[in-house]
């Protein structure tokens, strides 16, 4: 697992923050569950890339991140928004992909006390402009936060150039 702080330069990060945190024209789509249909969780999400093509007018805004990841083939990219909860709620462990060689990058858009938890007990805190990169078959779980109104992360699955 690789954790990279200050992943984007300050200018690029500022632009990204504006899109995801400040602009009022960024659409979010309700999901009534996170892992399994009927579970107790919910979130809002926005697909940026899926099924081999960009799925959002805002795709260009994430290109600086993709450039830094040295991507050979992109699988999917989505933004997740989790609403503040009274107590931190961990979502269930899951793997984003079952395909060998796929990497997962979680990019944290804002600072908050939510985190990504791994099955071996490691915890990566949500720190704005931090990226954590790990094998796509690694089980992990996201969480809500209690100290900010929302927790926003980008979830990127890709094949790296060097495989």
């Amino acid at each position: 697992m690789q954790i990279i702080d200050r992943f984007l330069d300050p200018y690029e990060y500022g632009l990204l923050r504006k899109v995801f945190l400040e602009d009022h024209d960024f659409p979010w789509y309700w999901r009534d569950s996170i892992l399994l249909e009927g579970d107790d969780d919910y979130q809002l999400l926005h697909w940026l890339y899926k099924d081999g093509a960009p799925r959002s007018d805002h795709f260009d805004n994430i290109v600086p991140i993709l450039d830094k990841l040295k991507i050979g083939a992109l699988c999917k990219v989505k933004a997740n928004l989790n609403h503040r909860t009274e107590e931190i709620k961990e979502h269930g462990f899951h793997r984003d992909q079952d395909w060998k060689g796929v990497k997962t990058c979680v990019y944290y858009v804002n600072d908050n006390n939510g985190y990504t938890l791994f099955e071996d007990g490691q915890k990566v805190d949500s720190k704005g402009n931090r990226a954590v990169i790990f094998d796509g078959m690694t089980s992990h779980a996201g969480s809500t936060c209690t100290d900010e109104k929302r927790r926003i992360v980008l979830n990127i699955n890709y094949y790296p150039i060097e495989r």
């Binding site: 960024f26 979010w28 789509y29 309700w30 919910y42 928004l81 909860t85 109104k149």
Partner: protein
């Protein structure tokens, strides 16, 4: 104040749209603007069907049935609100000298409360219609994941 249950004869298409996975919601930092006497830092998601400048949104046509049923009127603004366990949004009026109507999209234990103490519970396909000068506040639910309403402001012809 008038409360009408089973307001829309064809409610399901609108419910499917607003409660579904493909309807765009836009984040707002607060329900009431900073500076409002009842301002609280409680976020909500909104979707404008009809903006205050008269411009209609891409889903405006879903509002036609409700507009027709509200009678001979001129819609001033129509928006949907989505809240998730925030609390009490704070008393406010939407606009002056008009009529406000709230259509509840899902049944939950959230409600609309008025300064005179009256409460209208969130019941799916219920419409409450009242003078826009009446201060009211939306109270979010605790029994489910979200509360969704559509808020109409209109002038009576």
């Amino acid at each position: 104040m008038k409360v009408i249950d089973n307001f829309l004869p064809q409610f399901k298409p609108l419910k499917t749209l607003l409660m579904g996975n493909n309807f765009p919601w836009y984040y707002n930092e607060s329900i009431l603007p900073p500076g409002h006497a009842e301002y609280k830092p409680l976020p909500q998601f909104t979707h404008w069907f009809l903006y205050e400048n008269g411009e209609s949104g891409p889903y405006f046509h879903y509002m036609i049935d409700a507009i027709d049923l509200l009678g001979d009127m001129l819609p001033l603004r129509i928006k949907a609100n989505l809240t998730m366990t925030n609390g009490d949004g704070g008393y406010h009026i939407d606009c002056e000298g008009a009529t406000t109507a709230i259509l509840y999209m899902n049944t939950c234990n959230g409600y609309t409360k008025f300064k005179d103490g009256s409460i209208v519970e969130s019941v799916e396909n219920r419409m409450v219609i009242f003078d826009s000068n009446l201060e009211h506040s939306g109270v979010t639910n605790t029994d489910g994941k979200r509360r969704v309403v559509v808020n109409f402001n209109y002038a009576n012809n």
